[in-house]
């Protein structure tokens, strides 16, 4: 069964039906027992009265009964019967209502009365009581040897129709059935109402979930208003939505950034090709055009590679292979290709690094991080400015800092430094730099478990610093 509402309803109705049935059965049985007890008491009283009124007189049996009691037995169609036997199973007397028929004789009767159900001579169910007793002898006993041994015990069985019991029991059963039917109908209505009321928060959650799609991932389930049972689901869904939103946002940013950043080089390539086709020139110009094509494609390649590495870092898909590296060696290795440009811009570069500081990190990724920081410093330092690369040890930590002098950079720009494609336009020397370097450096630092930060000191010196745990 798929529907919770249906399941709850069937369960609740089934169990209440069971309880109702058991209750009705208990009431019925108790009532029955009570009715039988009273019936038996009446039957016994009747039998006792009959026994007490039984006299052996003149060798025969006589009943010294009040007329009205005997009358019950004497009418041919009465519902009450008795029969009296002597110890030899000879019938001494029977009620007029029996006619010529017999009641079942109790062969092992004792003095204490026994009750049992019988089928009455008219075929209806009845109840009988039977016991043995010694009738009183009155009158001249000696002359009456013929009929019975006057002092022997006789067995009396009195039977009576069960109508007085079965009728009220039937009425009770009907009343109970009717009550059960009414209660059941009431239950169906109430249970349905309560269950659907109770499931309202679930329906609300489902409705809320149905309205969430890729464009509305910012929506959340209101955990304040959720019932306790749905709280874990709501929280889980909110976590899931947050993760989805982050990854969607990452994808969106990646495609938007990629599209935007690639527009300029594509425009360059296209116009270059169009000019070359429209106004074909001699060999020298063609060679120059191809040189430009190569430069542009190299730039596009580095943008694409940067974006992909960034996307991989942010998505946690970049693998890290840690090894022990000597910081100073790696710094020198990364600086070497940048030294030419630094000379061209007349930068004064100073290195102050301990010779034996080692880090346990990924050589390639850490190298890429340093390359981005260094090339940023080389490109943005004012001509003739200074680049200082320092390493310091303290408390098992290693801090590497890159300081360079900058122009037109204010404290307001600091928070934007690590944003991708952010450029401080006024200080940007050329369009050759895609503006991805620092964003990539930050992503790489986070991936490698390092802390990276930037601060501006003395208004014109920008310091990038990285903290990492020293190896060994």
């Amino acid at each position: 069964m798929k529907s919770i509402q249906m399941r709850l309803m069937v369960g609740l109705l089934g169990s209440s039906l069971l309880i109702l049935g058991i209750g009705a059965a208990v009431i019925h049985l108790a009532m029955r027992a009570l009715l039988f007890r009273e019936f038996d008491a009446t039957l016994r009283a009747k039998a006792m009265a009959l026994a007490a009124a039984t006299d052996v007189k003149n060798g025969g049996i006589e009943f010294d009964l009040a007329d009205e009691l005997l009358l019950e037995f004497s009418r041919p169609h009465s519902k009450e019967y008795f029969q009296l036997w002597d110890s030899n199973a000879r019938t001494l007397a029977r009620s007029a209502s029996l006619g010529t028929k017999d009641l079942a004789r109790l062969s092992d009767a004792t003095e204490s009365p026994r009750f049992w159900n019988v089928k009455l001579p008219d075929g209806r169910p009845g109840r009988a009581v039977g016991f043995q007793f010694t009738p009183e002898v009155s009158g001249p006993t000696e002359q009456s040897p013929s009929v019975a041994a006057p002092n022997t015990d006789v067995t009396l069985v009195v039977a009576c129709s069960l109508r007085d019991v079965t009728h009220p029991l039937e009425a009770l059963s009907n009343a109970l059935l009717l009550a059960a039917a009414i209660v059941l109908v009431g239950m169906i209505i109430i249970v349905r109402l309560v269950v659907s009321r109770g499931l309202v928060p679930l329906a609300a959650v489902a409705d809320h979930a149905a309205h969430i799609d890729a464009s509305s991932l910012g929506r959340r389930f209101d955990t304040e208003s959720l019932p306790i049972e749905l709280l874990p689901i709501g929280r889980r869904l909110n976590d899931l939505l947050a993760r989805l939103e982050r990854s969607f946002e990452r994808e969106r940013r990646f495609t938007a950034d990629a599209a935007h950043e690639l527009r300029t080089p594509i425009a360059e390539l296209r116009s270059l090709a169009e000019v070359a086709l429209k106004w074909p020139e001699g060999n020298e110009t063609t060679t120059q055009s191809f040189r430009e094509v190569l430069e542009i494609t190299q730039k596009m390649e580095s943008i694409a590679a940067g974006l992909l590495t960034l996307a991989r870092c942010e998505a946690g898909k970049q693998t890290v292979n840690r090894e022990t590296i000597v910081v100073r060696d790696l710094v020198n290795e990364v600086w070497r290709p940048l030294a030419g440009e630094a000379r061209r811009r007349q930068l004064q570069a100073t290195f102050d690094l301990p010779a034996d500081a080692r880090l346990l990190t990924d050589r390639g990724l850490f190298g890429l991080l340093l390359a981005n920081l260094f090339s940023n410093a080389v490109e943005y330092t004012r001509v003739g400015g200074e680049v200082r690369i320092r390493g310091e040890r303290h408390d098992g930590q290693f801090r590497l800092s890159v300081a360079n002098t900058v122009d037109g950079f204010g404290p307001d720009d600091l928070p934007h430094l690590f944003e991708r494609f952010w450029r401080k336009d006024a200080s940007r020397p050329s369009s050759e730099h895609a503006g991805l370097g620092l964003a990539l450096a930050k992503a790489l630092a986070e991936l490698l478990g390092m802390k990276i930060g930037a601060e501006l000191v003395q208004r014109d010196t920008l310091i990038f610093s990285m903290d990492a745990a020293l190896a060994g």
Binding site: R263, A267, S271, L272, E274, V275, D425, S431
Partner: protein, 225 residues
């Protein structure tokens, strides 16, 4: 027609300025916002092609300053920023046209041409003076139905004079609109160019259309009877 290209990508500087020069425009190029504003302020351009992301000063600031100084030069923004908000911002800052990178060179040239023409209040593709007719799109010149073969620069000179028909056009105005920065202002390039043009558009037996106003400049007009 003289165009100022303010664009920091040197590849685009190269290809766009080549395309414009080959189409007969005089082109000045700047790769820096502040320098570009100085150019725009100190010369008479028929149109400016402006990138938005620029070192020195961003394109929108440049445009606002230019407009604030009362310069009405037509400006086409050429940028990679493609959102509607960007375009609206650009047009509100005073741009006349907006083209998104990457672009088709033909479209850029057509838009630049339209902007230049608009500067002289002309919308028609054909200009006529007497029996001289020039087609601005096809860049063809005919006199009394006979085609006249002109170089790109001669054509630009004729087109400029025709757009300003009936007005006295000074030598320096011609220099500014037809020749790039590289032209030597002391040379008599304008005089010799006018001379060549006059000869080409005046076939035997026809009346001359370009008149010299001594000390003032030149006038192109229908021959007076």
């Amino acid at each position: 027609m003289r165009i100022l290209l303010i664009e920091d990508s040197r590849h685009l500087q190269h290809s766009v300025s080549t395309a414009l020069r080959k189409s007969g425009y005089a082109v000045d190029v700047s790769g820096d916002g502040a320098e570009g504003l100085w150019y725009a302020d100190s010369n008479q351009y028929d149109a400016i092609i402006l990138d938005l992301m620029l070192p020195g000063m961003d394109g929108l600031t440049l445009l606002r300053r230019l407009r604030a100084q009362g310069r009405e030069t037509h400006v086409l923004i050429l940028t990679a920023r493609d959102t509607v908000a960007d375009r609206v911002r650009g047009l509100q800052a005073g741009a006349d046209d907006y083209l998104i990178k990457p672009f088709a060179l033909e479209e850029l040239l057509a838009r630049v041409q339209a902007l230049c023409r608009r500067g002289y209040g002309r919308k028609s593709q054909r200009l006529r003076i007497g029996d001289l007719e020039i087609d601005l799109t096809a860049r063809t010149v005919t006199r009394a139905g006979a085609a006249i073969d002109l170089t790109a620069r001669e054509y630009r000179l004729l087109e400029y004079l025709m757009l300003r028909r009936g007005e006295v056009v000074s030598r320096s105005e011609i220099e500014e609109h037809i020749y790039s920065e590289s032209a030597d202002p002391l040379s008599n390039v304008v005089d010799s160019a006018i001379c060549t043009l006059r000869r080409k558009i005046t076939p035997h037996g026809k009346l001359p259309l370009i008149a010299t106003k001594r000390g003032l400049g030149y006038v192109l007009d229908a021959p007076s009877k």
